[in-house]
């Protein structure tokens, strides 16, 4: 049992903390206040962060990346998100697909895509799974209705695959240069057995971005529809086997799903830290009833709860980061993600409560954190995800 950090882990943490304070914090509120969802994104901060290594953090050293371990990744996510979780997420979203490329792609694919990815500070990636009529069914495929789930169709034609259909709510949609797409290559069976994954560059003929979604939180972070109208994807961009796209069982070896758990939990930790920082600053200066808020018992009780939950989450996050590095496979990452959802809601709400009631105004940062937090309720803690982990735990119990 050892909670201390290695020098390398500590170095990444410090580097991220500095970047967050000096570069992200100053622009965070300004970006979120832009009304048009197409214009909240800022390529300058992406480029700056990319030069510091935050875009390519997870690419293995063998392929020219930083090869940071999961503990370092968790630390960096928490630090970036302590300044702005939507900006932090714009960086870490790329790590997920770096993991995927390095774990399951062919050397040819690695060469073609990782090289470009490493060279270009504006190369960001995303993955499309959700569709207008398929969200929960992708996460917890219903055994009684085997054909439900996403419908994006890929049909082979010579050396190419022809894609038709639509994905929605796709991260980095609108700015990404490469997308991973889950498509049905056998529409007669369920998604578990009839899916193939493809790498689709943004300039693929027949592929375009649709609506840019206007989110209430995470406003920096792009989210759009992806539309495929006879989009032509070379077979060389197929990932893994035909109809082998969605891994069976609980051991997701793509790095995608598992990391997604850690990712949401670590970003939530950063948000909670941010909320604690802001609340602490406020209670030490704001006066009510002739004393600082820090001297009000009810404020102390709420502050205790904010710090208590945040430290519980930090403990859980660091443990699952270690589990990833140690290749320990449990349901803990999923549970930690669910926990991060509950925690981020509570902590940001308590932040609002402590900072509220100043003459009908709300601290802009506390307001933003609460809106950012709500994203977790469907990404990290909806009932489908909770039932999924419960079922796995039930199945694994003797």
């Amino acid at each position: 049992m050892d909670f201390s950090l290695t020098e390398e882990q500590r170095a990444w943490q410090m580097k991220a903390r500095e970047f967050a304070a000096n570069e992200i914090t100053p622009i965070s509120l300004a970006r979120e206040q832009i009304a048009d969802p197409k214009h909240t994104w800022d390529w300058e901060i992406i480029k700056k962060g990319s030069k510091q290594g935050f875009r390519t953090l997870a690419v293995p050293k063998a392929w020219g990346g930083h090869g940071a371990d999961f503990v370092s990744q968790a630390l960096v996510m928490a630090e970036l998100s302590r300044a702005d979780c939507a900006i932090g997420k714009a960086f870490s979203q790329n790590w997920k697909w770096s993991h995927l490329i390095s774990m399951v792609c062919s050397d040819d694919q690695k060469k073609r895509f990782l090289t470009k990815f490493l060279e270009d500070d504006t190369f960001v990636m995303g993955k499309g799974i959700t569709e207008p009529n398929a969200g929960g069914d992708n996460r917890l495929p219903p055994p009684d209705f085997p054909k439900s789930g996403f419908r994006l169709r890929a049909e082979r034609k010579g050396d190419e695959w022809i894609l038709n259909g639509e994905k929605c709510f796709i991260a980095n949609g609108g700015v990404g240069k490469l997308f991973f797409l889950d498509a049905r290559t056998d529409p007669n069976v369920g998604i578990k057995n009839g899916t193939t994954m493809f790498m689709v560059p943004a300039d693929t003929p027949g592929f375009r971005f649709g609506k840019q979604f206007n989110k209430s939180g995470w406003r920096f972070y792009m989210n759009a529809e992806l539309i495929f109208e006879n989009a032509r994807v070379p077979d060389a961009n197929r990932v893994g086997e035909v109809n082998g796209g969605v891994k069976k069982g609980t051991d997701d070896t793509t790095g995608g799903d598992l990391f997604g758990d850690l990712e949401l939990a670590a970003h939530a930790l950063g948000v909670c830290d941010h909320a604690c920082d802001a609340a602490m600053k406020h209670v030490k200066t704001a006066m009510k009833g002739g004393k600082t808020l820090a001297n009000q018992q009810w404020v102390q009780l709420k502050l205790n709860r904010m710090y208590m939950l945040t430290e519980a989450l930090r403990s859980f996050v660091m443990r699952i980061a270690w589990e990833h590095d140690a290749k320990v496979h449990t349901q803990n990452p999923g549970l930690a993600m669910n926990f991060s959802c509950d925690t981020i809601q509570d902590v940001t709400r308590l932040g609002l409560e402590i900072m509220g009631s100043s003459n009908g105004r709300m601290n802009a940062s506390a307001d933003k954190l609460a809106r950012d937090a709500i994203i977790w309720t469907h990404l990290g803690g909806d009932s489908v995800l909770r039932m999924r982990y419960a079922r796995r735990i039930i199945a694994a119990s003797k």
């Binding site: 009908g360 309720t377 909806d382 489908v384």
Partner: protein, 413 residues
Amino acid sequence: MFSFQLSAEQQEFRDAVKDFVTNEVKAVANHPDRLQAEDPHFVPAILEQASQMGLRTLALSEARGGAGADHLTACVLAEELAVGDIGFAATLARTSELGHVLFDEAMSDAQRAQFLKSYVEDDNYHLAYAGSDIEADDSGWNYHRSEKSEVEIPVVATKAGNDLVLNGTYAFVANAPLAKLFAVQVKTDPKATGLTAAVIVLVPAGTAGLTIKEPAKVETDADGEQYYRWFHGTGGSVTFKDVKVPAANVLAGRSQLFGAAAASGRGSPLVQALNIGLGRAAYESAIDYAKIRVQGGLPIIQHQAVGNILAEIAIRLETSRNLVWKAAYAADHAGEYAAISELPLQIMAKAYVSHAVHEAALLAAECFGAMGVMKDMPQPHYVHHALVFVHSDTSNSTAKLRVAEAIADFKRD
């Protein structure tokens, strides 16, 4: 004799408002452009229609041309209106509430003669109050201690012959951009503190030197912190620069407009009635969606997980409404308050309902998955507005401490 049934008249009025909301208000309120822009304003046409139904002058006595609704009726209808749109409902509720207080209670005959006709006849005549409702706004914060914080009145009135000359600014006044008449709390001595030397004076919109400014999206304080303005409906800053009004516009014997009932926590829970309407809007939209959204081969309403959420919301709204109706009934029967409750029901309603509806709005949004955070849909707006209710009036935490003082029979000196 105990009864949980509204009168036939109340039910009819409610049904009429419900129809109006369903057929007219919702389409405007949930128009995609409006949702994307998060514009808190509401198109005048709908306010005019509401006025024609009697909702703008709802609480004004019948003798003076209003509907003479009591607090309970006002709460029942405010809920229905807020199902359609919270800002719209808040605007109407504010004007109606002020209409009763100003015209039925506070004005002299001469003042009424001057303003009543326009108020009753002009469908676009709204009212605003620039002032502090409660003196001891820090009660709760001063739990079990007798220190009172004092209201700071930011507008000074000096005498000039038969006129008063007003100078100063109220940073935010609800309804200000729409109001045709303002009741303004001023102090007649610039050095006075609290309510000493406070009077309330009527100022018609359009008076020279009166400026209304809609709030900036972001305000930055001296400490460099940024703030968002949280409100329902419409409002803005009201600045007086050498505004001259006749001294005859002073409301005799008033230093504040709502003081006593609000301070005791036994006034009308109108604000929380609006909030329940907001919760209902979220709830009804979630039910509609859960019936059509199919996952796992079934409409999601048939999944236990979703059914449980809907039941949780229904229970919160039910308990909220009962509390608000009881508080409204008690406010209508102030003389028999002790037989109805030993505790300040209005303040209990604030503490309970605002929390319950916020939870309800979050739960409802959860039914929509990712759609629940997209501004294509009203869900994120419901959540935001529910949060505004949590933090309007007094905070929930201090509200509870005011309840606790009542439990302990603590009387502030």
